[in-house]
Each structure stands twice: as C-alpha cells, then as structure tokens.
C-alpha cells in the first residue's frame, strides 16, 4: 500500500513502530505532490529539502529512542494565511504581501512542529480567506480533485484539495464562515471548525477576528481528532483563546453518543438546496436513525437568511479594519510610482488587493462609518445575539444539529465569479456556526450522480468537540466514503 493511501493515524503508528520512516512518508507525499499538483494547484509554496531534513531529524530521534510527539513524521499542509518563520512566504494569496516573510511561527505551526509533524507546503486560498471557491487567489484557482473543471470550495480550497487528492494525509485551514467545512464537503473530506477560542489565532492572518478559527482537515474523523489534539488549547498570546481543558479526543472517539437526539432545522432544508444534496443528506440522517438516534425537527429562525446578512456586515467590518495595515509603508508590496504619501497608500492598495477583498473592505468601511454604524454594525451584533440564542435554545433539546454543509455540490470554475451574491450563498448553512461561536464538522456522506462529493454538517455546543467527533465517527463507521479516492489519486497509487 502506498504511503499516500494511509491515514495520518496509520502513518503515525507505522513510524512509531519503525515499520515506516518519516523520510519515506515525506518522500511518498512529495512524489504525489510533484505528480498531481501541477493539475490541482493546491500549493502556493513547498520546501522539499527542508521537509526532508525535518523528516530525517525525526527518524534520528526515533532511532536514538527519544520520545517524539503526537504527529512525529506525519506530513501536513498549512493554509497560507498562517505565519511560518521557515523562510517560505506567507502570502494569504494576495499580491499585497508579495516578498514578505513572516518573522515568527503561528501558534498552530509551533504546535504542529512541536508534535513532530513535517510541514510539506503552504496551501492556496481565496485572497485573505475571502471567498468560497479559491478562485479569488492572486496566484490562480485550485481545482477540485474529483473534477478538475470544478472548484474545491473555499477559502481553504488548497488544504481540502491537497487532502482529497492524497498529496498529504492531513492539513490545517481556517474557517470564518465555512472556509473549512464547505471545501471539505466539496472535496469529500472531513473538515472541522472548533469552538471559537479552542485553537489560538496567534499567527493566523486575521480576516474577521471574532469569527476566524483554525481547524483540521483529514480523510477520517480520527485524523481530524488527531490534528485537533495537537493544536487545541490555551495560548496566552491570544486573549480570546479559552483556558478550557483539552480532552483526549482519540481515546473517546469510538464510544457512540447514546441516546442521541439530532436536531434537524427546517431552515437547513429550504429553498436553494440542491435536490441531490438533500437526498444524500437525508440518507445520512436515516443511517443515524438506524443506529437508534432520534431525529427532532427544530427551528433556527434567525440562522439562515439573517445569518448571511449579519455575517457579511460583521465579517466585512472587521476585515476593513484588519486589512488597514497593508498600506505599503512597513512591509509587503508598495506601488512603485506615486506622487505623495496618500497617493502611495491608494495605489498600493488598489494594485495589491483583488476585487473581492476590495469589495469587502468597502462594505465594511461603509458599515462602520459614522451615521451608519447603528443601522448596520450595531444591528448586526444584535442579530448575532439572536442567532446565538437560537442555538442555545436548540441545544437544550438536542445533542447536535445536522444538515447539508453546502446547498450544492462543487460548482464549475467561473460559474459564480460574476455574481458575488450567489457566491455568498454557498455559505448559507455554515456562517451561523461562526456567528454562534459553536463547533461544526463536515464529513463525507455520499456522492451525486455525477460523482461529486456531498458533505454532512454536524454542529454541537461550545467546547463539545469530543462529542462532535464521536457523533461523526458513529456515521463514518457505518459507511465507506472515507475509503473512496478521486480517480486522479487512484491512478497514481
């Protein structure tokens, strides 16, 4: 069996038992990347030599009988909006950070490194994580491994496609309104957004600070749990990181949650939901029913229509502020010709940012302007509280909430680029999770007739990732979706 067909847990065990070397694991993945990435374009930068040195160091430590970390020798990809001080660029897929090298490692990168993971490269994304297709990258779109004419979803499309195509077993991404779960669904992998505050944001280049959260990608629930184990926990450098204890996610994973009450919100099965996606998701719910779970119809009255409007005010307002620092003065891109300082600011930002980023900066700037603040930002915060209350009330009656992750399967490249609103509606089922700060996961639950993956979204209350993973695992054990590989990956095996 090829290394690329192994899960992260399998690779980890094989390395620790010295059946496989970290070097072999890295070489297997690097070879797959060399073969596949010219077609998929999941990576913005790679550093094979550095990865080989890291893997060799892990092997030496194992040979010397030293204790190694949770992810010793396991190859991993990192979304390119997380800082790495290893000399690779951190671009956020934006021209405006051209030439910038982060002088420090993000908390997550520190954690992965400390646990022995071997970072193979930085993955593509929508510029500054703004988008749902990875088409808003200044460095070109990533392709969906199941159909190269389709998008992988976004914004963490590079990480999702890299895992789906088996170039790497695991990856990390960031999720502001669905940017892990939606590409996971469209690429047929497991993607998880932990509770806000579960994983430190230190070193994650901010898009919308009150919504951004880092989370794992894997082909299995166990792999997602393994990555979460490595990156979760309090970090004093992020004031919003919460000092809650981190349970042993892997130890409890096989224990089913019983009895299990599943909330099925009416709002997640409404207008705009693709019929095939609905059918596949309902079949998944039936699997849970067979396992003894109760399906309970619930209402989340503020959590679809209002959620999108609220999200695009909160997220763009925070983005307009977070992205103010890219001005050509201190680092990154600076326009070459300018008359004076103001002209330099304007040209730098006009040339450095892509259209979608500019659109969101303008929306957010408008929403925060004096005279509009109360009508937009303040109102959005009030609705956000109502959305949170929707979920608080729901979680008094049910253990989790389920529905489709995305209303449609992967769409064609270019299909929605001319219609921002249609693109925004890709996130209609995912944004409320970020607004409510709760935990969510997308796991593969089947395919459309055309062979495109469909994702099941499961949401649970804050800091219940252990239960969320166990609930996901209950379904995964009954199905074999995790074993399916896109043809492009099979051909190389």
């Amino acid at each position: 069996m090829a290394v690329t067909d192994l899960t992260a847990c399998e690779i980890r065990n094989a390395i620790q038992e010295r059946r496989l070397s970290a070097a072999e694991a890295a070489e297997g993945c690097l070879a797959a990347m060399a073969r596949l990435d010219p077609k998929i374009r999941a990576f913005l930068s790679t550093d094979p030599d550095r990865a080989r040195r890291r893997a060799a160091a892990i092997d030496r430590r194992l040979a010397a009988g030293e204790t190694v970390g949770l992810l010793a020798g396991v190859p991993v990809a990192v979304k390119d909006n997380m800082c790495t001080a290893d000399g690779q660029p951190t671009t956020c897929a934006s021209r405006i950070l051209a030439g910038w090298r982060a002088p420090y490692d993000a908390h997550v990168v520190e954690r992965l490194t400390a646990e022995g993971a071997v970072i193979l490269g930085k993955t593509n994304l929508d510029e500054f994580a703004m988008g749902s297709s990875t088409e808003n990258s200044a460095y070109g779109a990533t392709r969906n491994p199941w159909d190269l004419q389709r998008v992988p979803g976004g914004s963490s499309g590079g990480s999702a496609a890299a895992v789906a195509s088996r170039m790497v077993p695991i990856a990390v991404g960031s999720d502001t309104g669905g940017s892990i779960r939606q590409p996971a669904a469209l690429c047929g992998v497991v993607g998880m957004k932990p509770t806000y505050g579960r994983v430190s944001r230190y070193g994650l280049v901010a898009f919308a600070s009150s919504l951004d959260q880092i989370g794992p990608f894997g082909r299995t629930v166990a792999d997602a749990a393994l990555v979460l184990q490595a990156i979760a926990g309090h970090d004093g450098r992020d004031s919003t990181s919460v000092p809650e204890p981190v349970p042993d996610y892997l130890a409890s994973l096989e224990a089913p949650v019983q009895p299990l009450r599943i909330g099925v919100p009416r709002e997640f099965f409404g207008k705009g939901l693709d019929a095939e996606v609905e059918k596949v998701v309902r079949e998944a719910l039936a699997v849970y029913e067979r396992l003894g779970a109760a399906l309970i119809p619930i209402e989340l009255p503020h959590s679809t229509d209002y959620a999108i409007a609220t999200y695009y005010i909160v997220a763009t307002s925070e983005a307009s502020s977070n992205l103010a620092r890219y001005d050509g003065v201190h680092y990154g891109y600076r326009s070459a010709d300018h008359a004076d300082m103001i002209d330099m600011y304007m040209r730098t930002r006009a040339q450095g940012f892509g259209d979608e980023v500019k659109r969101r900066i303008m929306l957010g700037t408008y929403a925060l302007s004096s005279g509009y603040y109360d009508a937009y930002y303040k109102k959005a915060l009030a609705v956000r509280r109502l959305i949170r209350r929707d979920f608080e009330q729901a979680f008094r009656k049910v253990d989790c909430i389920m529905g489709p992750t995305s209303p449609t399967p992967a769409f064609r490249l270019g299909e929605r680029t001319a219609d921002p609103l249609a693109m925004y509606l890709s996130d209609v089922y995912t944004v409320s999770c970020n607004l409510a700060a709760i935990a969510g996961i997308s796991l593969p639950c089947g395919f459309t007739a055309a062979g495109l993956p469909v994702g099941l979204q499961i949401l649970t209350d804050v800091f219940t990732e252990d239960r969320l993973l166990r609930i996901a695992r209950m379904y995964e054990r009954e199905t074999d979706w995790a074993q399916r590989a896109p043809r492009i990956a099979e051909a190389t095996a």
């Binding site: 944001r201 280049v205 600070s209 450098r237 004031s239 919003t240 103010a324 700037t365």
Partner: protein
C-alpha cells in the same frame, strides 16, 4: 455683550505614559533615547497575524489614577479600534477606549492664586501611543519612522470644561503631573514626551433666546509639552477668540464654525490652524475583537481604592493641622510622596513632629538639593534620622553635635548612636562634674563674673562659652546654664 465679559471655557485632554516596564500589548520594554526601532517586535509592528495581550500592570495603574481622581470605575469597560492612516501607526488603527472607558465622572481639586477650584474629570481611559515620524529637512522626499514608542501605554484624562483661565489650565496640568508622579503612575517627563496637554478653548457668549449658552468655536491646541506653553497657548487663544469675536460677533460662534485643531509654535508664541471642521476624521470606532472587555471584580476595585495613598493636597492640609507645620514647610514636605513618607515616619517615631520637620527642612532637604538626588538615594533612612533626633531630644548630644553626627551618618552609613559612642560625643549632664568646670571658669575669669554681677548681662554669654569650651563641647548647655545662674545669682 462686550468682549470683556466673555468667559473662557476650557476642557483639557492630557495624555501621559504609564510607568510600566513593558508596552501595552507586547513584551517590548518601554525605553527612551535608545536606537530607533530597537524596541519592537511583530506585535507592536502590527505584522500580519499578531494579536494584542493587555498589560495587566497598565490597567492597574490606569485604575489607580482614575480612583485618585475620584472617578467611578464602571462594571464594564471595553477596548475599541480608532482608525486613521498614518505611517507612525503600523496597524492604521489605534486600540483605545471609545464609549465605555474604565474611569468616569471624577474631579481634581487645585489651588490657584484666586483660591481653591474643583475641576471635573469627564473620563479616564487607556490607549496605545503611536511611533514617531521624522521628516527629512530641506528637500528630502522621505520620512523616517521610529516605532520604539509604538504601543507604549498611554493614559488619557479628559476634563470637564471647568477651566476658566490660563493660570487654571497650568495649575490643573501641573497638579495632574504631581498626582501621577506621586502615585507612581507615570514619570511625566515632558521633555521625553511622557506627558502631553491639549486644551480645548472656547469663550462663553451668554445665552441664546432659549436660555441655552452660546460659545465661540472650540479650538483644540495639540501636543503642548510644557506647563509654560499650556499657560501661554491658552492666554494666546483667549485673546485670539476675543479678537475674532469682536470682528465678527454674528459669525464667530460654535454653531457656525464648529471645532478646529491648532498647533502651537512656542518660539513665536502663536497658534496656527491645522485642521478645520470640514476635514474632521471619521474614525470608524468599533469594539476591539482581539481583546476581552474589562470587567473588574468589585472587591479588586475596593482594594485598589483602599490602596490609593493620601493625595498630596490632602496630606499637605493634614500636616498643617495635625503636625502644626507652617504652610510652606507642609508644601515642601508633601511635594513628593517619598519625602512625605520619610518625614512622617520620622515624626511618628520621635513623637516630635516639629523637631522632625526642622531636621527635614534644614538638613535632609539641603542635602537632597546639594547632591541633586531623590530621598530614596539618601544613605539614611527615616529610622536613622529618628534615632538622631531622639539623641538630641534626650540630651545625649546637643543640636550642633547632632548636625555633625548627621553628616557623619551620610558619609559612613553608620547609625547615630554608634557614631556618638565611637567618637565619645555624648554630652555630660553630670552636675558635679559640670560644677567643677564652672568653678574653674569662674576662678579664671573673676573679672567677667564681677562685670555680670555689676549688671553687664552680656557677660553671662561669655561665661557660658568658656564653660562649654572647657568641657570640650560635651557639657549639656542646659545644665551649665543652670549652674552658672545659681552661682552668679547666689
């Protein structure tokens, strides 16, 4: 209404650097006069991905100052982002407090030449300072940015428009400085930019038809960095407002012209327009999502309030009433908290506030001034001074010997008792020994004694002097005096 009746109405914004070891949101040290951009890190440089972490010490100092200004500490305060583009502000927003500051509704009592005044404090809030921009002189088309100061904790104190003269403006800002230094909240070295004053000046014009007061347009003078320039700039602005108003009574009103921002040229003694109302910024304030709100524990606030030391003005008055000190001495001894603490410890230990203040005023303060040192640097503690004072009080040594011992204490660091013992400086009060000395002096100076008996009172002093000299300065003068008086009188 005549221009002479216009009442200056002034509110003052004061910014001061808090005395913390590190910056507000990162571990960089706060230092002045060091190599540019040598006290910076990704956080204060506003690099992509960084997050602020609130400096607990800065919050504590801010709350201490707010409490000393009699402010209410609300149960909830939050941080906000204030947006503007400038190269000395790497994030292009400043983390500040907008509508829910950590201290509100306080006051500060001041002493002016026209008597005591109470100045209301609108709010006290914490924010980060920006860096410094140096513009190339003469034709250079670039500027140099130094970000060492970026992220330095800054306390903003906004007064009510209760200040009505240039003198009050000066005295108020001086009193704020004294208070901040006294509390250890800030060093307030104005040359280093640790304290900046921004008076907002307007003249009250009397009431409109509805009985609402009318004003001349408000002018804010930015970044005044000496008390003298505060007084001069306010004087200048009051006169300028009067002139403008007299030239155009109908047009020169707050209603019509709003607020403008002005700079101050200290060398020329004039203010100049920087920004008019039309160019006012929209700062797009919104709550800082990277920080958690400040929700102080009530018990902690109560403890903080209890730990605020007695303020200089109150302590000065107490020294006058409780210890009977002259106003001037009380003022000198309370100007600095450490000096006041030193004095009070000596006064309590000796149970002689008067003697302690004499020693402080004549000896301790003289040495501090001569050596240009703070009382903490004095090689003598309050207990040491108290021991010396007690030795004089008990008659072990006399006052003159005491002054000598004081100098020796400073030079050697030894205790007073030790010096007196080692050098045999203790005066004798043994009356039989002294009587013997006096007998010898009278025998040797019979003529002088006769002079005294003949009515020449000054002769007594000479006999005192001779007796003291004969004792080597160690005889207790009170005992010598008594024996001499008995012998000559008898």
């Amino acid at each position: 209404m005549s221009a002479a009746d216009l009442v200056p109405t002034i509110g003052i914004e004061v910014h001061l650097h808090l005395k913390t070891r590190t910056k507000l949101f990162c571990g960089c040290t706060v230092e002045y006069d060091v190599r540019p951009n040598s006290r910076v890190c990704p956080v204060c440089l506003g690099m992509p991905g960084v997050l602020p972490v609130m400096n607990a010490r800065a919050v504590e100092l801010a709350v201490r100052m707010a409490l000393a200004l009699h402010c209410t500490i609300p149960d909830f305060a939050k941080w906000d982002r204030k947006h503007y583009y400038y190269p000395d502000l790497p994030k292009n927003y400043q983390i500040s407090e907008y509508d829910q500051p950590l201290g509100v509704k306080g006051y500060l009592d001041i002493e002016t030449s026209k008597g005591p005044r109470r100045i209301g404090i609108t709010r006290v809030h914490l924010e980060e300072d920006a860096g410094k921009l140096m513009h190339a002189e003469g034709g250079g088309n670039f500027s140099i940015v130094d970000l060492n100061r970026t992220g330095t904790p800054l306390l903003e104190i906004v007064s009510e428009p209760d200040v009505h003269s240039a003198e009050e403006a000066r005295v108020y800002t001086e009193a704020l400085r004294q208070l901040a230094v006294y509390l250890g909240v800030g060093d307030c070295n104005m040359q280093l930019g640790q304290m900046r004053c921004e008076p907002n000046i307007s003249l009250r014009l009397g009431d409109d038809a509805q009985g609402e007061p009318r004003y001349t347009p408000i002018s804010e003078i930015k970044n005044l960095n000496s008390f003298r320039s505060v007084e001069r700039a306010v004087t200048f602005e009051i006169a300028r407002h009067r002139e403008e108003y007299e030239a155009d009574p109908a047009g020169y009103t707050l209603e019509k012209q709003g607020k403008s921002t002005r700079g101050w040229r200290d060398d020329e003694g004039i203010s100049f327009l920087q920004r008019s109302k039309e160019e006012a910024h929209d700062y797009r304030y919104f709550p800082e999502p990277d920080l958690v709100p400040f929700v102080p524990d009530r018990r902690w606030v109560d403890e903080m309030r209890a730990s605020v030391p007695e303020l200089p003005e109150k302590r000065r008055r107490r020294f006058v009433t409780e210890y009977g000190l002259p106003e001037y001495d009380a003022g000198v001894l309370t100007a600095e908290r450490t000096v006041a603490d030193f004095y009070e410890a000596a006064a309590v230990a000796t149970k002689d506030a008067k003697a302690a203040s004499n020693w402080m005023m004549q000896d301790v303060m003289r040495v501090l001034n001569e050596r240009k040192i703070g009382i903490a640097d004095l090689p003598l503690k309050a207990e040491g001074l108290a021991e010396l004072i007690t030795l004089v009080k008990q008659g072990t040594i006399n006052r003159n010997t005491g002054a000598e011992v004081f100098n020796k204490m400073l030079a050697t660091g030894k205790a007073a008792g030790e010096i007196v013992k080692e050098e045999g400086l203790a005066q004798t009060s043994d009356s039989s020994a002294i009587e013997e000395i006096v007998n010898q002096v009278l025998a040797a100076n019979a003529r002088i004694a006769e002079d005294y008996k003949g009515g020449k009172k000054a002769a007594f002093g000479r006999l005192m002097g001779e007796s003291m000299k004969a004792s080597g300065g160690k005889a207790n003068p009170q005992v010598v005096k008594a024996i001499l008086a008995r012998k000559l009188g008898g």
